[in-house]
Point group: none
Chain length 174, copies 2
DNA sequence: GAACTGATCGGGGGGATTATTT
DNA sequence: CCAAATAATCCCCCCGATCAGT
């Protein structure tokens, strides 16, 4: 159990959504949040193998993601989701990932800055991590691939991500 | 401030939705809940007649809008919403708006291009219109103000918009 | 000369390209 | 010495403040 602080008004609002006497906050919030997002596993029911990937498909089809045209922003959005999907696995994957000189991911800007001459670290919002940003697209995709693979995510999900970052191939011919 | 208890997993999920460093739980939850329900009015005001303006308040608080840091994109997003709110009134307002030489809004790129030397027209997605983009922020705000005023929108809504586009005043002193 | 309007141009970010290392 | 992998320079383009013109 975790404790969080919220303002009085919001508290009243949430309390007002109680469905049965004695219902706890988690239950109410899960119901409210579920309306939008098909949340992560409900307490009881076992999540069948595939469906926990919904976090990713949700992101990839979200407005926030699709409205974002720049590679770097999509890259960071995806890393954030990967972290939140499984912080522990993400950390392990992040630690073992680096170039010959540069460190690609770290919990502080400085580590990245000193590992190269112009790494241009960027914060991964919603996460304690920072990433290198001064790379071409190929390397960004490589970073995503490595992390996802190390986290044990499915081949098909990985390919889906690679596709999204691939150059907007000319649909004309072929 | 009130304290509530929630399970670990739910906590992680919520924390993962943080948008800016140091964001508190109330802020995150309000955003998440607002997406579905246009929540109970923020502190104070009871929902009065005005509510057909919800299109605007929805936009202004939407992720798409708030995630968007650049003036120009917010500008275009807002123009799009104005058009869809009332295409007829928008058109009337658009027609009567221009500088001494430049035309500010038009249904085709060319009209704008030939009305000045470097107008940099931008398409207003979801709309048959284009806008000039080579202006400073003050002029962009002026364009919004004029249109909104001509469309008969409320003073308070107009001011709200102006505020949003105002420079991120230094909160330090004052 | 004051106010308004136009559009040049500097700053900054993104990432392909090129230099460097392995 | 060549190829592959990696680093990081640097060009391009966007934005919009600032300055020039009306």
């Amino acid at each position: 159990m975790k404790t969080i602080e919220i303002d009085e008004e919001l508290y009243q609002y949430i309390a007002g959504q109680t469905r049965h006497i004695g219902e706890d906050a988690s239950s109410i919030l899960r119901r409210l949040l579920n309306i939008n997002l098909h949340l992560l596993s409900q307490p009881g029911k076992k999540n069948q193998p595939e469906n926990h990937y919904s976090v990713f498909t949700d992101l990839l089809t979200s407005d926030t993601f699709t409205n974002e045209k720049s590679i770097i922003n999509r890259f960071i959005l995806l890393l954030g989701t990967l972290y939140n999907y499984n912080p522990t696995h993400f950390s392990i994957a992040a630690t073992s990932l680096h170039g010959s000189k540069r460190q690609y991911l770290a919990k502080d800007k400085q580590s990245l800055e000193i590992s190269g001459k112009n790494t241009k670290p960027r914060e991964i919002i919603g996460t304690p991590y920072w990433v290198i940003s001064n790379t071409n697209t190929a390397r960004k995709v490589y970073i995503l691939e490595s992390i996802m693979s190390d986290m044990g995510l499915s081949e098909s999900l990985i390919n889906q991500v690679i596709d999204i970052f691939s150059p907007p191939t000319n649909k004309a011919n072929s």
